[in-house]
Symmetry: C2
Subunit: 310 residues, 2 copies
């Protein structure tokens, strides 16, 4: 049983109450908070030594990454982050300097996005460092963008370039908060999520949540320079295109809009974010499953994204 | 450096923003959420295998405890819990049944207090299970009870009986949510917190936050039957009274009120919660430090609470 099968099993019958707009299954939970104008976003995410970072990773970058992952999920809902709690689980013999550097990296990113760090916890995890971040955010009432809104005929877009994040981007990526808010304010975004487990897997999440299929255009998928360079090595595990589909931790936005909005959106984007690539990579189709179109025709896409335990 | 010294160092210069009413240092953070009538409470807490529970602890009780600890912190602010996120870090070879039982224990407690579980995460922690819970709650605007409001002359109260939690209460305690809300609605509670690290240490937190001292009445401190039974054993580490002062995980409420309210409060409490003991255990004094009064006189209290890493 992999991570997604386990989550599906656990989330079948979770307790709920009348504050819940959207519970488990999207990038953030969306909750009522007694405000007429806004709704609360709520997210948690953990990074673990040896899984999401190594003992060689500079601790400032570990702290930065831990928070940035959560910020990316707030972006995926078109929200604005607000306040974070930080849990650091540490071996008994820890270096205070190490922990302070984790905080330094986190604090710098928090300041950049006007996020308050309002507490948390230190506890013991004897064998390795684990950092869990909880984040609240806000979104104008009714304006959160879910995974479930994609419609047949929609154009599929992705920001930035995909694959090869392990070469460095996973520690340095900029959460697409400004881009996502601008998108939601300027266009009717039908569905959106952030790419954390690879395009192939994450597009399946949108398709599944929206009860649709998707067709990817092979030559439109933006492949990162890092993915291309890794693929050139003798020991490369996969071609660059497969890396772009299946490598985790891109932290780019994947979203769909009505096809009539595709060209106006691309034009407006280039003016608004001239330094951030935006690619139309395919379309949403009726039915189910992901297919891939290239010069030889159309076939089902086999590549999966990253899953823990699998 | 112990847990509290580390936290003091890390929280010196945390980023903030204008949503923050109270950040790090109280039982929960208190945040503005755009509501005229209420404020948001925000808390995170983790339990770790081998520290907060053992491999023998029934998984239902592990899940229950993980959530109950956070509920107790919402109680300490006189709030109402709302929604939880659950992070479970697991060894690669985990039993699905084990995880489902953790959720079963958590879900049952959540339902009891009308808490929604709105998502979370499963991730990998190769050597041991770690569960981190994040919880939101609400409190009527301006009605959160802080640690910092104790005043010289206040009477100090504690609910329940203290010490010996390890014998079972740490897995079965009822978070004092109803009691705390009733207290805050019925009386002017000056300061409140939940006892997680032992009365001696936690009373110091209230004294420190309120810039006051405290005098405990030895014979008024309610000692649990479990603490007394453990103290009778040949291998007992400490007398029952010391256990009541220093054992962790009591999860009772510690609070102060003006001395004029002490007797009316005790009388009203007995009618409202006839099955829950409430004890007046001393008074807040000007100055600093905790002192203990018994039949021989008054002396400084040396006993400390539980601290990680110490």
């Amino acid at each position: 049983m992999n991570e997604f099968e386990l989550i599906a099993r656990l989330t079948r019958s979770l307790p709920t109450n009348n504050s819940v707009v959207i519970g488990a299954g999207d990038d953030c939970a969306v909750l009522e908070c007694g405000s007429l104008s806004q709704q609360l976003l709520f997210k948690t995410d953990a990074v673990v030594e040896g899984i999401h970072f190594t003992t060689d990773t500079p601790p400032e970058q570990v702290g930065r990454k831990a928070l940035a992952r959560c910020l990316s999920d707030i972006a995926a809902m078109a929200g604005t982050p607000s306040a974070a709690l930080v849990t650091i689980a540490l071996p008994k013999k820890f270096s205070v300097e190490f922990v302070e550097k984790i905080y330094a990296g986190m604090n710098a990113l928090a300041k950049q996005y006007n996020v308050a760090i309002v507490g948390g916890e230190t506890t013991t995890n004897p064998e390795r460092v684990l950092i869990s971040i909880s984040l609240t955010g806000f979104v104008p009432r009714g304006k959160a963008v879910f995974r479930s809104g994609a419609k047949a005929g929609d154009a599929i877009f992705v920001t930035g370039e995909l694959g090869g994040s392990i070469a460095g981007k996973h520690l340095e990526f900029a959460p697409r908060l400004n881009e996502a808010r601008w998108l939601a304010e300027s266009f009717s975004i039908h569905a959106m999520m952030d790419l954390s487990d690879g395009l192939a897997g994450d597009l399946r999440h949108i398709a599944h949540a929206s009860k649709v299929g998707a067709e990817l255009l092979k030559f439109a998928v933006p492949i990162s320079r890092a993915a291309k360079e890794i693929a050139k090595r003798g020991d490369a595990a996969k071609p660059a295109f497969v890396a772009a589909l299946t490598d985790g931790e891109d932290f780019e936005l994947l979203f769909t809009v009505a096809s009539k909005d595709a060209v106006p959106l691309l034009d407006a984007w280039k003016k608004q974010f001239p330094d951030v690539k935006l690619s139309c990579i395919g379309k949403i189709i009726a039915g189910e499953g992901i297919r891939l179109r290239d010069q030889t025709g159309v076939r089902p896409l086999a590549a999966q994204g990253y899953a823990h335990f699998s």
